[in-house]
């Protein structure tokens, strides 16, 4: 790499450690990041990419000499404008943080103080630097305007809960840019957003970076996103650097095997299966609302799913897809319509359902963590439905647990482990085994891969497809991720504001002509090529101008 003159940020041979406390053993120091070096010139954007645990956030925060939860930098140098910030005292760090280097976090909703107005929080550091309030507010309003926030003059008077997630993320970007820093660390700033919102925020961030000439570290697990905003990309794995190159080189000509895997991820695919069996699930004209709400959250939803098929329900947050799952499982009785399951009409409320109804309809959740009792072993978790539905005990139960563990591709050793000893993907596999243990006809999968890294999520999708082939179980697959839908669905239903706006066979739904909403949804999914973002934005502006 060529030497850059006067870089904003230079990290040399960084080593970051944390202390881990394994139960019953002595605390041990664990290396989280080792031997990472990077140089970032003024006005440039470097993308840090990798799976969870790769150390991307840790490296990002090290540019502010900050360690989360006992994480500490034990070796190396972090130079901001040529000064090693690790050697300065607490006072020097306070002058650096929020002023020279600022931070945009993944969840703006959690990162804003709920008790204070947005404007007070946005201009807080500017005021601390001695900028007059009127000037700081003028700066903030200008940034709100640049970032495309509605009513930029008054939005600062609102409290965090009064604006949407996408807007909050933009306000947080404005908060980071307001003190006119030289480096901004963006830590997964669009990951928690819906695709249609993500694209706007991404465009706003990119424009703000370009216009202010600030340097940025852009951390994400989504290579397609980072390709849109970065000049250079560093690929990380297990705290080590795998590859560093220009965005173009990483996308088009990755040198390392692992980078190639990341670029080519989402290769899970299967041919659409025709509906041959009888309908497992028939949802007829369902409307539902939560008590206390004055409007229906689900509006006249009608869907059908055949045995052994996968119906993907796609939509943004608030579209009613999870409510649909609650209605089918009986947690929320609908106020109109009926549900037919395996030819019989289901009781609307959970109380009225037979044990057989319960057994044949299982569910897998997004957060495998919270869906398992942390004090039970894997064997106890999977064994519970075996005992409850089939009365299996002792050796018989153990044998069946083992069979199920084999089916989900986990070995013998896992039966006696606790959930805390499993990785995210393994936890989700145990949840799948628990659902399978009941020998269901239908499994509702609610965002089951959303919390997982792409490569791990792919493994889960493959497993689900294989299990479907062997067991003939039907899936109702709820997700906001269109790539997942393409990978797994036979049929697709697109939901928007509580209603199904488009449904049918997969290839039909994904082929033009589209309705407006499906078009917007499909065109918002980031594609792994440079310049995609500009194309979409230009295209949309043109269409908006043409109307």
């Amino acid at each position: 790499m060529s030497e850059i003159e006067n870089p904003v940020l230079e990290i040399r041979d960084l080593k970051i450690e944390a202390t881990s406390y394994p139960p019953g053993e002595k605390p041990v120091d664990v290396t989280i990041v080792e031997g990472v070096s990077l140089t970032l010139a003024k006005g440039k954007v470097m993308g840090l990419i990798g799976e969870s645990g790769a150390g991307k956030s840790t490296i990002g925060l090290s540019s502010m000499a900050y360690g989360r939860g006992g994480v500490r930098i034990t070796a190396g140098e972090v130079l901001v404008n040529g000064t090693d910030i690790l050697k300065g005292g607490a006072g020097a760090l306070r002058r650096l943080r929020g002023k020279t280097v600022t931070y945009v976090s993944q969840s703006a909703a959690a990162s804003f103080n709920p008790a204070r107005k947005l404007m007070d929080q946005v201009i807080e550091t500017s005021l601390a630097m001695g900028v007059a309030r009127a000037e700081a507010e003028a700066r903030a309003v200008a940034l709100f305007e640049k970032l495309g926030l509605p009513s930029p003059k008054t939005i600062g008077n609102r409290y965090p809960h009064q604006v949407s997630g996408g807007q909050l993320q933009r306000v947080m970007t404005a908060m980071a840019l307001c003190p006119q820093p030289e480096l901004v660390v963006f830590d997964e700033p669009t990951t928690a957003l819906d695709v249609t919102t993500q694209i706007d925020v991404l465009a706003a961030i990119k424009e703000a970076i370009r216009d202010t000439g600030v340097a940025a570290l852009y951390i994400t697990h989504d290579l397609a996103v980072v390709a849109q905003v970065s000049d250079e990309i560093m690929v990380l794995r297990h705290g080590n650097m795998v590859e560093l190159g220009t965005a173009e080189q990483i996308i088009h000509d990755p040198r390392e095997e692992y980078t190639r895997d990341l670029v080519s991820v989402r290769q899970v695919n299967h041919a659409e299966k025709p509906a041959v069996g009888e309908a497992v699930l028939k949802i007829n004209d369902i409307s539902a609302r939560y008590s206390g709400l004055k409007f229906d959250v689900l509006k006249h939803v009608t869907l059908e799913l055949a045995a052994g098929q996968t119906l993907a329900v796609v939509g943004e947050s608030g579209s009613g897809k999870s409510t649909l799952a609650r209605v089918i499982t009986g947690l929320l009785p609908p106020n109109a319509g009926s549900i037919e399951f395996c030819g019989r009409t289901l009781s609307p409320a959970l109380k009225g359902r037979s044990k057989e109804d319960l057994r044949e309809l299982q569910m897998i959740y997004q957060m495998a963590d919270t869906a398992m009792n942390p004090r039970q072993t894997v064997a106890a978790i999977i064994g519970r439905p075996l005992e409850f539905y089939f009365g299996l005990k002792g050796a018989e139960k153990r044998k069946r647990v083992q069979e199920l563990l084999d089916e989900i591709e986990l070995g013998t050793g896992f039966a006696d482990r606790y959930p805390a000893e499993l990785s995210g993907g393994q936890k989700q596999r145990v949840c799948i085994a628990r659902a399978l243990a009941a020998k269901p006809k239908l499994i509702i999968c609610d965002e089951v891969t959303s919390a997982l890294d792409p490569l791990v999520a792919d493994g889960i999708l493959k497993l689900l497809l294989n299990l479907q082939k062997e067991e003939g179980v039907a899936y109702l697959f709820i997700t906001h991720d269109l790539a997942t839908v393409k990978a797994i669905a036979d049929k697709i239903a697109v939901m928007y504001r509580g209603a199904v706006v488009r449904d049918g066979n997969r290839d039909e739904v994904l082929s033009p002509p589209f309705d407006d909403y499906t078009d917007l949804l499909l065109s918002s999914v980031p594609e792994m090529r440079l310049g995609w973002l500009e194309e979409v934005i230009a295209h949309r502006k043109m269409e908006a101008g043409g109307e």
Partner: protein, 324 residues
């Protein structure tokens, strides 16, 4: 305009809480009345003494209205209380509202002085503890407040009296106050009971403040403030405390209620003419109307302060104050 104010969720919540408070007060009055009815003993007997003739006892009972059915006695008592008429004391024929008014004023004065010192002090110590969490100032504050809260009040009273009044001769050991005393003289007289009360309530409030703020300090927005380079004390004061108001106010109000209704022992130790002594005196004499009146006032104070805590918690919540 008016309909929009009435429709505001905060107004509805506040109205609901106030209505619940009144309902609770009514229930408390019922409980107090029933409770005093099932107490053993006979007022007429205790007034006239063991040597009274049956005829004299019957006459007195009729005069005091003790032969009426309980329901009608309760209703006339409640109706009177609603008009500010708490009846007359059986033992000395004084108007209860009058006699109690002065006592209540004394008790509120003592409680108020203790609160003015204890509440800000507890909050400050709580904030300091959080700032230096796990370091020596935190440990020192914890140790001292825990010790003071663990010692029984009467013992604490005598220790304070021994040191301040007997050894140092700084303040009087007896806190009797008269109408003719000036404010300064009164403050001087109650210095010792105030000290004891502050020591008793400090630990509880300080520890709750500390715990509530430490809980908030785990939030993502505190990390945001740290990454904005804010000073530690500003983070605690401006970012953490506003989000810890609800639990802190609840504990503060519980302690204020204790200062009013629970200071019997301290009043007796320092011979302070407050509500506590008044109540204790008349319980001994089986003067039921006075006991009922005191119970009702204590219940009103308790419910009122807790209602204020609820209201502050509601008003401190920006989600309720500023709905979407």
């Amino acid at each position: 305009m008016i309909t929009s104010i009435i429709g505001h969720p905060v107004v509805r919540l506040v109205a609901h809480r106030i209505a619940m408070g009144l309902l609770l007060l009514f229930a408390a009055s019922l409980l107090i009345f029933v409770g005093t009815q099932i107490l053993p003993g006979d007022v007429a007997q205790s007034i006239l003494g063991q040597s009274a003739t049956p005829q004299a006892l019957a006459n007195l009972r009729a005069e005091l209205g003790l032969n009426e059915p309980a329901v009608s006695r309760y209703l006339s008592w409640l109706l009177g209380a609603l008009h500010g008429d708490l009846g007359t004391a059986l033992t000395n024929g004084q108007d209860i509202a009058d006699a109690m008014g002065r006592r209540l004023g004394n008790t509120l004065f003592l409680a108020g002085c203790a609160a003015i010192i204890a509440v800000p002090l507890a909050l400050t110590l709580g904030l300091v503890s959080v700032r230096y969490q796990g370091r020596w100032p935190d440990k020192l504050i914890s140790a001292v407040t825990l010790a003071s809260v663990s010692v029984p009040e009467f013992l604490l009273g005598y220790i304070v009296m021994f040191i301040m009044a007997v050894r140092l001769r700084a303040f009087p050991s007896v806190s009797t106050v008269y109408d003719s005393m000036s404010l300064l003289e009164r403050l001087n007289a109650i210095a010792l009971p105030v000290t004891v009360l502050v020591l008793v309530v400090l630990g509880h409030m300080m520890r709750m403040t500390r715990a509530a703020i430490l809980n908030v300090m785990q939030s993502a927005y505190i990390e945001t403030a740290e990454l904005k380079g804010m000073r530690p004390f500003r983070i605690i004061w401006r970012h953490a405390l506003p989000n810890a108001i609800a639990p802190v106010v609840n504990v503060v109000m519980l302690n204020l209620a204790y200062l009013v209704v629970g200071v019997v022992v301290v009043e007796v130790v320092f011979v302070y003419p407050g509500m506590g002594q008044y109540l204790v005196d008349h319980v001994a004499k089986r003067d039921v109307p006075v006991v009922q009146a005191c119970g009702l006032v204590f219940a009103a104070v308790y419910i009122g302060l807790n209602m204020i805590a609820d209201l502050v918690s509601i008003l401190a919540n920006p989600r309720l104050r500023h709905p979407k």
